[in-house]
Amino acid sequence: MHVVVCIKQVPDSSQIRVHPVTNTIMRQGVPAVINPHDLVALEEALRLKDRLNARVTVLSMGPKMAADALKKCIAYGADEAILITDSVFAGSDTLATSFALASTIRRIGQDHSVDMVFCGKQTIDGDTAQVGPGIARRLGFEQLTYVARIEKIDPAAREIVVHRRAEGGVQVLQSRLPCLITMIEGSNTLRFASMDDMFRAARYDVIEWNHKAAGIEAPERCGLKGSPTAVKKVFAPPQRSTKAEMIDATKATPCEAADTLLAKLFASHPALEKEMVR
């Protein structure tokens, strides 16, 4: 079994601030983290390593500093880490990104045939959830998104059973290998790095490939050129025009504050009171 986990190094979006004048993202001092959803995917792959002695390769596309994120994955127990980094990848949208990653996975498969690809359900910077399906489609792998649990896997029979979150319930799906799985949060908890793996990570050199090494013969399908979508405008969300009508409860009892609120609320929105009575 050979499992490839795709990860992305992202700015910690909870700490992002927007410049008040230029409306640009202020990245200074914002820590780069591994996309949290990808850690769920990594843990699931590592469990296959524990159970089935699967080989785990971690893959990322990004600037050279993304090697740090990959090294962390080695510390958690991944066997190999590959960073594809090249100026031709700059400006890739999800279609171009899935092209570059799928091409690289095909290249990786030449050395060790790939049975499964794991991704997080989406990234916290782009939030699109499109790259996973894109990779599956390009590789012709079965596409299993929003997976909460792998119930059964039989590498010899090339069979897998998963629980997939769907609209209004859970689908229990039986599928075949090779497949691509995107994992949802809450499915597992990432293990602690072992001392041995931490030492290994410290000594480990992340494999860096440019587009040629990654087996990409059509660089025009990567980056801005290979991206059908183009960002035309970036701007701060408009403010909801109303400023709250304030009720200061610090000088009143909670009951007084509640009464004041209801009086104001029902006076200006009588329909709401009828709604509640219904």
């Binding site: 979150r165 035309k232 709250a244 209801l262």
Partner: protein, 354 residues
């Protein structure tokens, strides 16, 4: 890409005409986001002077018929329907095959899908197969009058910024929109649409993924949060999970639903399906009561469609007061129960009066 490149769109784009909406039919039920999309699609089609069509992919049964009729009530001029036993439940492969073949046959310029687990799974596969642009989770769709292209606006970086995205040189232009982001259009039962039966060669033998069982969510778990008229939500300001009962109690009294901010969902005070905001659910209630929620931008994008927002927070400088309708500065743990009591005292009297 500069605006100039848009003037020299590749030859052939003019062959693509019309706005399509994928109607999400699962286990006999249409997801309401489909009708919201038809409402939005109607505006785009009118602006372009083209037809609005719905695509219904489903089992060969009466639920599929009903979905076609409903699509017309909500504004579709025509409905393309693919019915086949293998389409009874959603699976990526046969649905992708059905949708991509239809798109290839009729060449719509815009294709919209709900940003649900089904819609996002399908949209990603379809856009890759068609090698076209796909913009996820849009909050606004417009037609750029100069280029006739779709200007799709979406939040990025967790909602801190919005960006407008165009797909200039590929068709169809694809976008997904989350439930409750667009308003529900009026349902007009006098409207009719032409229903066009389509055949796509499908066989169970060709589909590697099988559905063993479907475990429906228990009614209690099935959070109808996105469609509740009244929502009460709590945040970290409540201090701990035990205090969340005040949120649930008020929601229950008002016949509404409850939810929470990202930190409390992550901390396990509530289920992840009750998280409200950019990474959770978008809500559009008539009344939203936010207790102990500071109102970070990620939260704001999920709630600003509410008619009335009441915010309770002990910090007078909490960003939520910048976009709430009414703000109470005080401890939510004390004010929520007081509010519940005040409403309990008030509502029955009103009920008798009616």
């Amino acid at each position: 890409m500069s605006a100039k490149t848009s003037q020299t769109a590749p030859h052939g784009l003019e062959d693509w005409r019309g706005v399509w909406v994928n109607v999400e039919l699962e286990r006999g039920r249409v997801h309401p986001v489909s009708w919201e999309l038809l409402g939005e699609g109607r505006k785009l089609a009118d602006q372009l002077g083209v037809a609005l069509s719905a695509v219904v992919i489903g089992a060969d049964d009466s639920a599929t018929d009903a979905a076609c009729a409903e699509a017309a009530f909500y504004g579709a001029d025509s409905v393309y329907v693919v019915r086949h036993p293998v389409l009874a439940h959603y699976r990526t492969d046969p649905y992708t095959k059905a949708l991509t073949q239809l798109v290839g046959r009729y060449k719509p310029e815009i294709l919209l899908l709900g940003a649900t687990t089904l819609g996002r799974d399908l949209a990603g596969a379809v856009a890759t197969t068609l090698a076209t642009g796909l913009t996820a989770d849009c909050t606004e769709l417009r037609i750029d009058s100069e280029t006739r292209s779709l200007a799709a606006t979406r939040p990025t970086f967790g909602g801190s910024l919005l960006c407008t995205i165009h797909t200039l040189n590929c068709r169809p232009q694809m976008a997904t929109v989350r439930p409750r982001v667009m308003a529900m259009p009026a349902r007009d039962t006098q409207r009719t649409g032409q229903v066009i039966q389509e055949t796509v060669a499908l066989s169970e033998d060709d589909i590697a993924t099988k559905i063993l069982t479907f475990i429906p969510d228990a009614a209690a778990e099935e959070a109808q949060l996105a469609y509740a008229d009244i929502v009460v939500a709590g945040g970290r300001g409540l201090g701990g999970p035990a205090n969340f009962q005040h949120v649930k109690e008020l929601a229950r009294l008002l016949g509404g639903d409850y939810g929470g901010s990202r930190p409390v969902a992550q901390a396990g005070w509530i289920g992840l399906d009750r998280q409200i905001g950019q990474t959770g659910k978008t809500i559009r209630p008539k009344l939203y009561i936010a207790a102990g929620i500071s109102g970070a931008v990620q939260h704001r994008v999920g709630v600003e469609g509410a008619d009335v927002i009441v915010a309770i927070n002990s910090d007078p400088n909490a960003p939520i007061f910048g976009f709430a309708t009414y703000g109470i500065v005080g401890d939510a743990v004390r004010i929520l129960p007081a509010l519940t009591e005040a409403l309990r005292a008030r509502l029955p009297t009103r009920a008798e009066a009616i």
